[in-house]
C-alpha cells in the first residue's frame, strides 16, 4: 500500500505520542493518565506502521493497548482514587531529575548531530510483505536465547505475582 502524506502523518503521530506522554505525567487522576498512555501507545503503533513494521504495530495494539493497559485500568479502578488526588503531584527530587534529563538530552543531541551515521547502515529495509516472517525468523533464529530468557523472566514474574496475591497456596 502506498503511503499517503507521509510527512504529515509522521508529525501528527509524533505530536500525539508526545502529548500523550506529557498528559500521563501531568494528569492528577490516574485513570486519565492511563488513558493518555493508551493514546501515546496507539500513536506509536501508527509510527511503527509508517516504518513498514505492521506486525510490531499490531502486536503493540493487542498487547499494550488491548491487554496490559486494560489490566492497568482494572487495578487503578479498584484503588482508592481520593487519596491519590490529594497527594502531591511531583516529587521533590530535583537533583535526580536534572541529571536524568541532562543525560537523556545529551543522548538525543548526539544522535541529532551525528545523524544517520550513528546507526549501522548495512541493514536493508525489509519489505512490508515479508516483514512478519522476518521477525519470526529473527526471534526464533538469531535471538532465540534472548527470547527464551525473556520468557523465563516473565514466568518468574507471574509466579511471584501469584504468590503475592494468593491468600492460601
Amino acid at each position: 500500500m502506498q503511503p499517503v502524506a507521509t510527512t504529515f502523518f509522521f508529525y501528527f503521530l509524533a505530536a500525539l505520542t508526545l502529548a500523550g506522554g506529557v498528559l500521563v505525567i501531568t494528569r492528577k487522576n490516574p485513570v486519565h493518565s492511563a488513558l493518555a498512555l493508551i493514546i501515546a501507545l496507539l500513536a506509536q503503533a501508527g509510527l511503527y506502521l509508517m516504518l513498514y513494521a505492521p506486525f510490531v504495530a499490531g502486536v503493540q495494539i493487542i498487547l499494550y493497548a488491548g491487554g496490559i493497559m486494560v489490566l492497568f485500568l482494572f487495578v487503578i479502578m479498584l484503588v482508592n482514587l481520593e487519596r491519590s488526588q490529594r497527594e502531591e503531584q511531583f516529587n521533590k527530587q530535583w537533583l535526580l531529575g536534572i541529571i536524568a534529563a541532562t543525560a537523556l538530552g545529551a543522548l538525543f543531541i548526539t544522535i541529532f548531530v551525528r545523524g544517520r551515521a550513528i546507526f549501522p547502515v548495512h541493514i536493508a529495509a525489509v519489505a512490508e510483505e515479508s516483514n512478519t516472517q522476518e521477525i519470526g525468523l529473527m526471534l526464533y533464529g538469531n535471538y532465540m536465547f534472548t527470547f527464551e530468557i525473556a520468557s523465563l523472566l516473565l514466568l518468574v514474574a507471574i509466579i511471584g505475582a501469584v504468590v503475592m496475591a494468593k491468600k492460601r497456596i
Partner: protein, 415 residues
C-alpha cells in the same frame, strides 16, 4: 476520471491494494451503510426469532410484522433526553461510547466480503482485527468507571477480566487456523484475511474440516470465545440485567446508549466474520470442489437471487394472509412494498455481471447470518454462567484445549 473509476472494476484486487482512494471511500461508505442496515435487521430478527422461540409474536404493531420497529426505536433513542450523571467523569463518559463504536467499525476495514470486496487487505489482517476488537474493552472499562456508580463499575471489571481471559483462548484458536494456512504446497503462511481464504481455496478444504477433528475443535473454541468476547448470553455477565441492572451502560441513555447497542451488534458481526473467514471458507461457496463445472457454477450463482425471491414470496404470502380490513390497508401495502423491494433486489442479482461480482458477498453474508442466528439461539436457550464458572471455562477448559490443538496442528502439519 471515468477511467479511474472503471479501471478498478476490471482489476481483481481490493481498492486499498490498488491504491484507488475513490473506491476505498465508496467501500467504506457501503460497509458503513450495510452494517447499519444489518444491525437494524439484526435487532428486528433477534426480537422476532426470540419471540417465536418463546411462544409469542414479538413486535407486530409498527409496520407490517413490526418491520419498522427498530426504526421507531432508533428515533425514540435519538429524541430521548441525554442524561449524564452529575458525579460522572464528563470527558471519559463522553469518550467511552465513541471508543466502542470506533473500534467496532474500524475492524471492517479488512473484512473480506469477497475476493475483491474489502476496503484493503493488510498482511497482518487477522492481527489487526483481533487487536482492534480487543480495544473495545477499553471503552467498556471507561464507561464503567466514568459512570461513578457501583453497578457499572462491577460490570466493567467483569467485562475486562472476561475479555482479557477469553482473548487468550481465542488467540490460540486463531493461531492454529493461521498455522493451517502455511501447510500448503507453497509453504508460506499468511496473516492476511484474503490470504487465509485463498489458502482454503488452494487446499480445497474449509479449515473447520481440516485435520479432523483439530480444525473443528479450534473452531469450537473460537465459537465459544467469540460469544464471551461480545458479552452475549450465556456469557453476558457484564450486562447481566438480573444482577447488575445493565452492567457498564447502566447510566447511559438515549443516543449514547444506542451507540453501545450499535457497537455490540457490529462487534458480533465482526467476530462472526473472523470465524467465517478463518474456518468456514470466507466467501467461498459450499462444495466449491466437489460440485464443479459450468453448470454447477451457474446453479450456485443463481442462489442469491433465488433466495431473495423466496423472501419476496414470503412477503407476498404475508400480504395474502393479512386480514382484509380497512385498518390493515397500510400494513398490507407496506408489506407488499417490502416484498417488491426484495424481489427487485433478487432480480437485480440475476443480471450476469452483478451476479458474478456479488455472489461472494452473498455467501459470506449467509455464513455470518448463520453465526448470528446461533447467537440468538444461545440467548433463548442458555442460563447465564456465574463469574467463577466463566473463568473456569476460559482458563481451565478452553486454554488447555487451545494449546493442545495448536501443538497437535503443528505436529500433524509437519508430518
Amino acid at each position: 476520471m471515468l477511467d479511474y473509476i472503471t479501471s478498478y472494476l476490471r482489476s481483481d484486487t481490493t481498492p486499498g491494494q490498488a491504491g484507488n482512494i475513490l473506491w476505498a471511500v465508496v467501500y467504506i461508505f457501503l460497509i458503513f451503510a450495510g452494517l447499519s442496515v444489518a444491525v437494524i435487521a439484526m435487532n428486528w430478527l433477534e426480537r422476532k426469532i426470540l419471540a417465536h422461540m418463546q411462544v409469542r409474536l414479538g413486535p407486530m404493531r409498527v409496520g407490517p410484522h413490526g418491520l419498522l420497529q427498530p426504526i421507531a426505536d432508533a428515533l425514540k433513542l435519538l429524541i430521548k433526553e441525554d442524561i449524564m450523571p452529575a458525579e460522572a467523569d464528563k470527558f471519559v463518559f463522553w469518550m467511552a461510547p465513541l471508543v466502542v463504536v470506533m473500534t467496532a467499525f474500524t475492524v471492517f476495514v479488512v473484512v473480506p466480503f469477497g475476493a475483491t470486496h474489502a476496503v484493503t487487505d493488510m498482511n497482518i489482517g487477522i492481527l489487526f482485527m483481533v487487536g482492534v476488537s480487543s480495544l473495545s474493552v477499553l471503552g467498556i472499562v471507561m464507561a464503567g468507571w466514568a459512570s461513578n456508580s457501583h453497578y457499572p463499575l462491577i460490570g466493567a471489571l467483569r467485562s475486562s477480566a472476561q475479555m482479557v481471559s477469553y482473548e487468550i483462548a481465542m488467540g490460540l484458536a486463531v493461531v492454529s487456523a493461521i498455522l493451517m494456512t502455511s501447510l500448503n504446497s507453497a509453504g508460506t503462511g499468511t496473516l492476511s484475511m484474503i490470504g487465509i481464504v485463498q489458502a482454503q481455496q488452494a487446499q480445497h478444504v474449509w479449515f473447520v474440516f481440516k485435520f479432523f477433528p483439530l480444525g473443528m475443535i479450534a473452531f469450537f473454541i473460537f465459537a465459544i470465545a467469540m460469544v464471551a468476547e461480545t458479552n452475549r448470553a450465556p456469557f453476558d455477565l457484564p450486562e447481566a440485567e438480573s444482577e447488575l441492572t445493565a452492567g457498564f451502560h447502566t447510566e447511559y441513555s438515549g443516543f449514547r446508549w444506542s451507540l453501545f447497542f450499535l457497537a455490540e451488534y457490529s462487534a458480533m458481526i465482526a467476530v462472526s466474520s473472523i470465524a467465517v473467514t478463518l474456518w468456514l471458507g470466507g466467501w467461498l461457496r459450499p462444495f466449491s470442489n466437489s460440485l464443479t463445472g459450468d453448470t454447477w457454477e451457474m446453479v450456485f450463482s443463481l442462489i442469491p437471487g433465488l433466495s431473495f425471491l423466496a423472501f419476496a414470496a414470503m412477503c407476498f404470502l404475508g400480504v395474502f394472509r393479512m386480514p382484509k380490513h380497512r385498518a390493515f390497508r397500510m400494513q398490507t401495502m407496506g408489506l407488499a412494498g417490502f416484498g417488491v423491494l426484495l424481489g427487485g433486489i433478487g432480480l437485480l442479482l440475476f443480471v450476469p455481471p452483478v451476479r458474478y461480482r456479488v455472489q461472494d458477498i452473498f455467501w459470506f453474508s449467509a455464513k455470518v447470518a448463520i453465526s448470528m442466528y446461533m447467537y440468538i439461539w444461545y440467548r433463548g436457550t442458555f442460563p447465564r454462567y456465574r463469574f467463577d464458572q466463566l473463568m473456569k471455562v476460559g482458563w481451565k477448559v478452553l486454554l488447555p484445549l487451545g494449546i493442545g490443538v495448536l501443538v497437535l496442528t503443528a505436529g500433524v502439519g509437519v508430518l
